[in-house]
């Protein structure tokens, strides 16, 4: 236990009050930032979509309707708490928390700022203590994120099941199947990042993306980023993969039976997850709090100190992805369920796996001193053959199915 | 204040693992639902994993942790296979328990 904390330079020495307070402060800050970001995200999304659809969007509560989310929250808070009769009471009450907590936990490992410039490893000095602008930096940081995202399924799954009603159940089964399916692709693209950076620690990953050319999105050859992006969208159950909430088919999805605060928690978790996922994308592929720098020139934001500047960069980058998500929602039509599954299993997973193998081959070739092009071509050939075999098998099974007249 | 001095030794972990294993054993024998029996087997495997990790720490030897890694893989494969069998059985009869599996007596 000690070792894992000892990674944080705060806690290397004896346990004193100051570091403890710093840690507490970080906890509070992360929590508040998270909540705040979520609220803003809700507003942001509504506003942006409204703009895209030529509407005005929320504009009553506060300036630009920015307090709309708060108002909604207060309303939900005071609504009557309903528990369906046929529900499994314990699980029904538990589920929203299971959805909400993981959403926050991921935030703990995202470097929110810090000084990564010039080979610094992100350490900043607060109150005479060295620390990271990050709640925790376990050596297995990125695995932690994966672990949490795999746990996030529980909330949805159990919410649907415990409602004791058919539609939520179907919604939750869909959702969890979707999440499980896309987790593989997600994990494989993360693996590509880990392969090139050689570390699992999130701060380590950030530290290795010092210049624009070193950003993982480029080093890993963009494909893993795309896959991650798509998979993350599916993982978030966001449009165009929001089959969980397909209103036409499933009424309201897994949270149909929920009301008041419990519903608010789900809602919150969903947007929280979007924020976290964007932050994760930034951390993994876009240098996290690193400023944009090409070669030796770094775009420096004046006035702000180096440590805080990282935070600003992070926020800016995250904003871009948040905007992309909203954009998705506004523009893309929803997938059909089988299309979703096909995309996940037959495109994303093979692609991410193949790309991973390609990267690995490069890596091995590099350390063994083989000709880079030969390695690439050979690997590509192998992948091509494998893929055509896969296609062939798929075609065959489709024909078989047609002949037998069964769906699967 | 005294409590802070007590450090759990390896044998604490091992004993905990043994208890967990025992609970799992009882579970496999008591429960009738194949799914739950199966969960109890997972409990047992976890007890083993805990033992491995604790022993690895106490022997200061990484191989114990490696073993856990393999156990995890095995557990995953086992679950897939087991659930496959259970699903294909329960498709016929949705409410089977181990007692209902009485076509084969004994």
């Amino acid at each position: 236990m000690m070792q894992i904390l000892a990674i944080d330079p705060l806690l290397t020495g004896e346990l004193l009050w100051t570091p403890l307070l710093i840690v507490l402060l970080k906890v509070v800050v992360v929590f508040v930032v998270g909540l705040l970001a979520t609220m803003l995200m809700v507003w942001f999304e509504r506003k942006v979509i409204a703009g895209m659809q030529n509407r005005i969007g929320p504009n009553k509560a506060g300036p630009f309707g920015i307090l709309q989310t708060l108002a909604d929250g207060i309303k939900l808070f005071f609504k009557e708490d309903l528990i369906p009769e046929r529900s499994d009471r314990f699980v029904f009450k538990l589920a929203p928390y299971l959805a909400f907590v993981p959403a926050f936990l991921t935030f703990a490992i995202i470097p929110l700022g810090g000084d990564f410039r010039g080979g610094n490893d992100g350490l900043v000095t607060w109150f005479g203590h060295q620390t990271r602008v990050q709640l925790a930096d376990p050596p297995i940081g990125i695995l932690f994120a994966l672990a949490i995202s795999s746990i996030a399924i529980y909330g949805i799954m159990l919410a649907g099941w415990s409602s004791g009603s058919k539609y939520p159940l179907l919604g939750s089964v869909r959702a969890s199947a979707q999440m499980v399916s896309y987790e593989a692709a997600l994990g494989l693209s993360v693996a590509a990042v880990v392969l090139v950076t050689g570390t699992l620690s999130t701060s380590g990953i950030v530290a290795r993306q010092s210049t624009l050319g070193n950003w993982n999105v480029i080093v890993t050859g963009i494909i893993p980023f795309f896959i991650f992006m798509v998979a993350a969208t599916a993982e978030l159950n966001r449009p165009p993969f929001d089959l969980v909430e397909a209103e036409q088919e499933l009424v309201g999805g897994f949270n149909t039976e929920y009301a008041s605060l419990r519903f608010a928690l789900f809602y919150l978790a969903e947007f929280m997850n979007t924020v976290t996922m964007s932050a994760l994308i930034v951390t993994l592929f876009f240098g996290g709090p690193q400023p944009i720098s090409v070669g030796s020139t770094t775009i420096d934001i004046p006035i702000i100190g180096n440590a805080l500047e990282g935070t600003v960069w992070l926020l800016l980058k995250v904003l871009v992805f948040l905007y992309i998500y909203v954009w998705f929602r506004a523009t893309l039509p929803r997938f059909r369920y089988d299309q979703l599954m096909n995309l996940g299993w037959k495109v994303l997973i093979p692609a991410s796996l193949g790309w991973f193998i390609l990267l690995a081959a490069q890596r091995v070739g590099q350390s063994a001193g083989w000709d880079r092009y030969v390695v690439t071509i050979a690997t590509a050939l192998v992948l091509l053959v494998s893929y055509s075999l896969l296609m062939l098998a798929q075609r065959t099974s489709t024909n078989e199915r047609k002949r037998d007249g069964v769906m699967f | 204040m005294n409590l802070a001095v007590i450090e759990p030794t390896t044998s604490w972990y091992l004993v905990l693992a043994a208890v967990l294993f025992g609970i799992g054993t009882v579970g496999v024998m008591v429960r009738r639902n194949p799914l739950v029996m199966f969960m109890c087997i997972e409990l047992m495997l976890n007890a083993v994993n805990l033992s491995f990790v604790a022993l690895s720490a106490s022997l200061s030897d990484i191989n114990g942790q490696t073993a856990v890694f393999f156990v995890l893989v095995v557990a995953a494969a086992e679950v897939v296979v087991g659930l496959g069998i259970i699903v294909s059985i329960m498709r016929r009869r949705s409410d089977a328990t181990a007692d209902d599996l009485s076509v084969l007596k004994g």
């Binding site: 050689g198 | 091992l14 029996m37 076509v103």
Partner: protein, 515 residues
């Protein structure tokens, strides 16, 4: 460039030739599955032919290695995790023969049951991989993985007849109990690891030998050995851990039952011997009594319970338990200074029994008819009139299982009894022989039905080609080995003393200083 690759990992050298049997099997699986999924309609019987070819290729690869080992001596491969010695190779060959024969039966069976597809064959091959890994492992973790590979395949195979409730339930039962026993085995590994600091069999042995300080944690080690024994006893279906056997054998599709009783047994016993003889030669006095008790219980319970059965598959299941008892007698003898004759005897027994049991189940498969349902003693009535040749073959198999001289069964039993007698375990030898007498009653009952009872059904049974070939080959093998066993015994005698090799094979440099 970065930390992970800064220091290059130098992996162990991999002797590809040494594991060529495994590679052949693995390649076979891959090709089978690949082609099976690309071209789903293979001509009739070609899956079977392919599997037979793969298994024969495996056997050939093993034989080539055999020659190599004979010339250059046994060795340890891949970071001492795999042993390449006669013991492993003989088991490999036996397993390969089993798959070949079983595949022959399976072909017609599958067609009869309206089931196609290469999955069953693929599972045979993967099970074989597991078996070979078990037999040749020199590391408990590897052994465990091999065990699981084998077991998972067997669970699936047992449940593979999806139209038959019995089959599926057999699969489930086998699965739950198998998983249960695996957990025990694994816990045993954990405790052994804790008390010796390694999972490598040779390293365990050397840690336990001589003046090592590990004697202090004997209690944990003993419990570890005990738990491993429990786990393996489940797999070899030794009493009182046999409860799954009759149900699973009865429920599983007949060819699969044959496979479980042959290849499954070979692998489990090979693993049992490996663990006990290689890793714990210094703890013989502790585990021998346990094996003794297991052997006696298995022999008696297997034989006695067999007598009251009325279903032939169940009978053969109990008889296989009784045979497991015989094999345990050999294991017990092998405990004595790792007697190499005993090791050879057990392996020979396994090989011969495998052929016998496959032959028997081949007949059962044919008699059982569509749906695998006609397996009671009454269904065998008058087989001697309906199909004299097949009945004769069955008689040969049954007599051989009873240990009748001039059949391979006698050679098998004789070897084990001889091994027991050489280490002066007379009591267990006599118990074994008495159990054989009790079990003989069971075989007589089947023979009575076959020859001496009148048939209720006079329709001529059709004997499919594959099964016919398998039965003929098995019968010929049974007789030939019974009459002229010299060549086989000469070959198996080369099985060397595992314990000494294993200890020699550990490179002193890699051994961590004890304490």
């Amino acid at each position: 460039m970065n930390a992970l690759f800064a220091e290059n990992l130098v992996g162990p050298s991999i002797s590809w030739m040494g594991i060529s049997p495994l590679l052949v099997l693995l390649g076979g699986v891959c090709v089978l599955l690949l082609l099976g999924s690309i071209a789903p309609r293979w001509p009739k019987g070609s899956y079977c032919v392919f599997t037979v070819a793969v298994s024969l290729a495996t056997a050939v690869a093993a034989m080539l290695q055999w020659r190599d080992v004979t010339k250059n001596g046994p060795k340890m491969l891949i970071a001492d995790a795999v042993a390449l010695d006669h013991f492993a190779l003989l088991a490999t060959i036996a397993i390969a023969i089993s798959i070949a024969l079983v595949s022959l039966i399976t072909d017609d069976y599958l067609r009869r049951e309206d089931y196609d597809g290469p999955e069953v064959y693929a599972l045979y091959l993967t099970a074989a991989i597991g078996g070979v890994v078990m037999a040749s492992s020199n590391d408990l973790i590897v052994l465990f993985l091999g065990l699981e590979t084998l077991s998972l395949s067997l669970y699936l195979l047992a449940a593979s007849h999806r139209k038959r409730a019995e089959s599926q339930e057999a699969g489930l039962k086998y699965f739950v109990l198998g998983g249960f026993s695996s957990a025990f085995f694994l816990y045993g590994i954990a405790l052994t690891y804790g008390s010796t600091g390694s999972t490598n069999l040779s390293k365990i042995a050397s840690a336990l030998s001589g003046d090592s300080p590990f004697s202090q944690i004997d209690a944990m080690l003993l419990v570890g050995i005990g738990l491993m024994l429990v786990g393996l006893a489940f797999k070899v279906s030794a009493v009182p851990f046999h409860v799954w056997t009759p149900d699973v054998y009865e429920g599983a599709p007949s060819p699969v039952t044959a496979f479980m009783a042959s290849a499954g047994k070979i692998a489990s016993f090979a693993a049992l011997l490996r663990v006990l003889v290689v890793a714990f030669p210094t703890r013989i006095d502790d585990w021998r009594p346990a094996i003794w008790v297991l052997a006696v219980l298995t022999l008696l319970a297997g034989s006695i319970l067999a007598v009251v059965q009325t279903n032939v598959k169940r009978m053969l299941a109990f008889s296989s338990i009784s045979h497991a008892g015989f094999l345990l007698v050999g294991v017990e003898a092998a405990g004595h200074v790792g007697d190499k004759d005993a090791l050879a005897a057990v392996l020979t027994y396994l090989l011969l029994y495998a052929v016998l049991v496959i032959g028997s189940f081949a007949v059962v498969t044919v008699v059982a008819g569509k749906g695998d349902s006609h397996t009671t003693l009454d269904d065998f009535r008058g087989l001697g009139k309906r199909r004299p040749a097949m009945a004769l073959a069955l008689t040969v198999f049954l007599l051989a299982q009873a240990g009748m001289p001039a059949t391979s069964g006698f050679i098998a039993k004789f070897g084990v009894i001889k091994a027991a007698a050489e280490v002066q375990s007379y009591s267990i030898a006599i118990i074994a022989m008495l159990a054989a007498v009790i079990a003989a009653f069971l075989y007589l009952r089947i023979m009575v039905s076959v020859w001496l009872a009148d048939s209720t059904d006079d329709t001529k049974l059709a004997i499919p080609t594959g099964a016919g070939i398998a039965i003929t080959l098995a019968a010929i093998f049974t007789i030939v080995v019974g009459v002229y066993p010299g060549w086989l015994l000469d070959a198996t005698r080369m099985v060397s003393n595992l314990a000494t090799i294993a200890i020699q094979a550990v490179d002193p440099a890699t051994q961590t200083p004890a304490g």
